[in-house]
Amino acid sequence: MTVVRLANVSRSYGEVHALRNVDLEVAAGRLVAVMGPSGSGKSTLLNLAGGLDLPTSGTVTLEGVDLAAVKDLAALRRRSVGYVFQDLNLIPSLTAVENVMLPRELDGVRARQARAEALAVLEEVGLAEAAGRFPDELSGGQRQRVAIARALVGERRLVLADEPTGALDTRTGDEILQLLRGRADAGAAVLLVTHESRYAAWADRVVFLRDGEIADSALLEEVR
């Protein structure tokens, strides 16, 4: 089942064509990676897929809904989409569990339930014991796992990750990909932007962007 679909999507900023005629879909249970040099349109693609930006032409459909027709995009984003960015954007004055609870509380979920959900996701990412610590008491890899927990809480169907392995060493980076892969295997659609092929290789499909267009893609054969 398709969770997000970009159909003939283009995005221009004035004279600059950031993305041209891109067709891409991510189904539930799939991890799709987008690779390309800087300026190739990777982040634009991710922002369009998550409704943070709208296309100049073409349509973006999230769980069957055309984003151009949605009045309250922010609410749809909070409900359906989880974001993991390279800059973690954890709030330093909140503990790990409070950071993870935040999007649920914004959704109107009562604090007690939000806390229970947040603790469950922190456990899933292997950080149950660090729930009460503040971001500056955590390692880089742990902070990134908190950010991922925050993106996963509330059973979001689409997870978008922009260079989530940032400055992490390869072993910690692999752990992050293991988590994203696990989420896809559990039924989410995951779209990952990375410039590192070793992390893209965790995906079912790797899409190569060049000058805003899809140049090619590498598909992992299903195991029969």
Binding site: R198, A200, A218, L219, V223
Partner: protein, 168 residues
């Protein structure tokens, strides 16, 4: 050469017979390096000739068990203590193909992209194999292969960047 030292290293953990050695060798290299039993016995007889191992008692099923000698232990120690230097590489077909493409083919960027897609598929397969294995030794062998493909990809990116600059 590495099969010889690989078997010797396995024997340094205790006496083993031929089939057992083959099994353990493949298990620790993630089955990326399949051995046939003939290779194993040929290698064992050379090791024996060189005094690095000796035949012990046959086991209850009549299979010959080999054990390492003192000279063999010293040899393993020396092997682990000596870093591997890159030998004279055989001419690399990919490098020649890309050099020729850049020199002669108007569509060299396509040649690069086709190679990139193919090596990405290989890396996806290796990563899946890595996900499926619980053995740290196997994972490290697969990681080594992943790093090699990654190096190839970085080189392809570099080729593309240089070529684009030439063309612009």
């Amino acid at each position: 050469m590495s099969i010889r030292y690989g078997l010797l290293a396995l024997l340094s953990r205790g006496p083993r017979h031929g089939y057992q050695l083959r099994q353990e060798f493949e298990a620790s290299t993630g089955a990326t390096w399949p051995l046939n039993i003939g290779q194993v016995y040929t290698t064992l007889s050379r090791l024996e000739r060189d005094g690095l191992i000796r035949q012990g008692e046959a086991d209850e099923q009549g299979r010959v068990v080999y054990e390492i000698t003192e000279a063999g232990r010293a040899e393993v120690e020396r092997w682990f203590g000596t870093p591997v230097t890159p030998a004279d590489r055989p001419r690399d077909e990919l490098v020649i193909k890309l050099a020729m493409a850049v020199a002669t083919c108007p569509d060299a960027l396509k040649v690069i992209q086709a190679q990139r897609t193919a090596s990405m598929r290989a890396m996806q397969e290796l990563t899946r194999a890595k996900r499926d294995t619980a053995s740290p030794a196997q994972r490290l062998v697969l990681d080594s292969m992943i790093f090699q493909v990654e190096a190839e990809q970085r080189w392809l990116d570099h080729c593309e960047a240089v070529l684009r600059e030439e063309q612009s």
